[in-house]
């Protein structure tokens, strides 16, 4: 299951990482070295362990608890409006509506 340059480039897209071409060969080599070491897991008999290996996990009520802020919202998000936080416009979103300063 050797990792290829195409694999690294594909995974970089999934991980939202810009990947300079010069970095790819080294990453392929490093990942293959690491994954070779992982191959020992193929030999382990895990038939006694179910698919949901960590079950049963305790569960808490699905209730949203407020985060106890030590500074007011305006201290780190200076442009709140209607419960939302305004962020700078990107040109690719120029057709999607107004944002701060362009109302």
């Amino acid at each position: 299951m050797a990792v290829t340059e195409a694999d690294v480039l594909h995974v970089a897209v999934l991980a939202r990482l810009a990947m300079p071409a010069g970095r790819v060969p080294a990453l392929v080599r490093e990942l293959n070295g690491i994954l070779d070491h992982m191959a020992v897991l193929e030999t382990v008999d895990v038939s006694s362990v179910g698919e949901d290996a960590r079950a049963p996990m305790p569960r808490r009520p699905d209730v949203v608890a407020p985060v106890p802020l030590v500074r007011p919202l305006a201290g780190f998000a200076p442009a709140p409006r209607d419960g939302f936080l305004l962020v700078p416009r990107l040109s690719t979103h120029s057709q999607l509506g107004a944002s701060e300063g362009e109302e």
Binding site: E30, G33, E42, E51, T92
Partner: protein, 458 residues
């Protein structure tokens, strides 16, 4: 307060020592003198009243920035603080600074920090260990007696061993991780460094306990760890797992361990040889699960909500450039690895298999503790502190966690304490206990520390 710890409020002096030891690069950020003075004056009570402590830079504080040793969070001010930090302030502790670390706690040497490596105070040509190397160096360098770090695969115990101090990783769920920046959530813990076992016991005592802000925190009573000091070891069964003493283990480290085991026996403990048969699988399992979880946890750092933002006009390019410019090589490597093992076609072979083997490792510990063993004794690391730049192969670096990653995978408490020197550098002995049985671990550690005396660092 510890008999060995000066009661005087010496936070200001500790801050001065930190400035004087700037060449160690133990701190990313130091507190202002005025803030420390105010903290000293307002710390009117508590187990750590006026005691200076250092906190790793991935534990959120409200006054000091929290950068995780990364450019992508450089200067970031958290809008909330970690529960452990709140508990420290409530106990009267004075935080003198945020300590250097491998970026996002990914590393075993503190060479991966965006803010430069931390030096080992005992030999500045060697690493202090990692990822909590700054906290270890702050204690070993005499700046403060208690410091806090985090553990995902040994990042407190390994630097404690390399720097000749005590490092404790509690049970998963014993200390709240609310406010600890997540690396691998099923493996992350907050831990403590102490100059002595007593310092570490006090340091853990004040941060232990249930917290509703952390869903993995467990509501169980917290034992009095310091009450274990001076207790004889009669009736305590110490297991020595054969897998932690391979034939390849450095004979000098084995000899230091044998001496420590003899001392435990002489103090009344029963020594029993045991087996944890899946130990050798810990590194392959760890380096699948931890990067997989990291690839998910670190997805939030994209230039929108945190840190600097790359100047591009398109959204995808902004994400990609921000992350590539913000993350260092090791974090990038682990995100790529983690995304790969979670991706279609590889999930079952890597991630799911690793989860199942993790359960086998956990079952190993459960079986040994169910057999009547109270604590286990092992070496903490296979070598003493190594020199800067000597482990350039990532896999070679990963293997330095071979004796510590198991405790994170199983969630059991573990600690390291100095048990002697090899090549003039300290080596650590590791004690592990059953879930929430930190008291058993401290009982053995106090006795061993007393029995070793000055031989712990000779």
């Amino acid at each position: 307060m510890s008999a060995t710890m000066p009661r005087a409020a010496d936070a200001t002096a500790a801050l001065a020592r930190a400035h004087a030891s700037a060449d160690l690069n133990a701190f990313v950020t130091l507190a202002d003198t005025t803030d420390v003075d105010v903290a000293v004056r307002t710390a009117t009570s508590g187990l750590l009243q006026g005691v200076p402590v250092a906190v790793k830079d991935n534990i959120a504080t409200s006054v000091l920035s929290t950068s995780c040793g990364s450019r992508i969070l450089e200067g970031w001010m958290s809008p909330y603080e970690a529960t452990a930090v709140t508990k420290l302030r409530d106990a009267g502790a004075v935080i003198i600074g945020k300590t250097n670390m491998d970026e996002f706690a990914m590393g075993s040497s503190t060479e991966n920090s965006a803010f430069g490596p931390t030096l080992n105070p005992l030999d500045r040509t060697r690493v202090p260990g990692g990822s909590s190397g700054g906290s270890a160096a702050a204690v070993a360098g005499g700046i403060c007696r208690i410091a806090y770090g985090s553990e995902t695969g040994g990042s407190v115990r390994q630097p404690a061993a390399f720097c000749g101090i005590v490092g404790v990783k509690p049970t998963y769920g014993r200390v709240s991780r609310f406010g600890l920046v997540a690396f691998a959530s099923s493996l992350d813990h907050i831990g403590v460094f102490g100059a002595t076992v007593d310092d570490a016991a006090v340091g853990l005592q004040v941060i232990a306990g249930h917290d509703r802000q952390d869903a993995t925190s467990v509501d169980l009573p917290v034992d009095d760890y310091r009450a274990e000091a001076g207790r004889p070891l009669d009736g305590l069964v110490v297991g020595v797992p054969v897998e932690y003493f391979p034939t390849s283990l450095d004979g000098r480290i084995r000899a230091r361990c044998d001496r420590a085991i003899d001392m435990l026996r002489q103090n009344g403990a029963e020594i029993r040889h045991v087996s944890l048969p899946h130990t050798e699988l810990a590194i392959p399992v760890y380096y699948i699960l931890a990067p997989a979880e990291a690839s998910s946890n670190l997805a939030r750092f994209d230039g929108v909500r945190y840190g600097p933002r790359a100047a591009t006009d398109d959204l995808r390019g902004m994400y990609e450039q921000t992350r590539s410019q913000g993350f260092g090589p090791e974090v990038t490597r682990r995100i790529i690895l983690g995304t790969y093992v979670l991706s279609q076609g590889h999930y079952d072979a890597y991630y799911l298999k690793a989860m199942r083997v993790r359960e086998k490792i956990t079952q190993d510990f459960a079986a040994v503790f169910a057999s009547g063993v109270h604590v286990l004794f092992t070496p903490t690391t296979p070598t003493p502190a190594f020199g800067f730049g000597t482990k350039s192969d990532p896999l070679e670096m990963y293997l330095s966690d071979i004796f510590t990653a198991t405790a994170n995978l199983a969630g059991v408490p573990a600690m390291s304490q100095p048990i002697g020197l090899v090549d003039g550098m300290p080596v650590g002995g590791q004690l592990l206990a059953a879930h929430f049985r930190e008291a058993d671990m401290f009982r053995a550690a106090f006795a061993l520390e007393q029995a070793l005396g000055s031989e712990a660092l000779s």
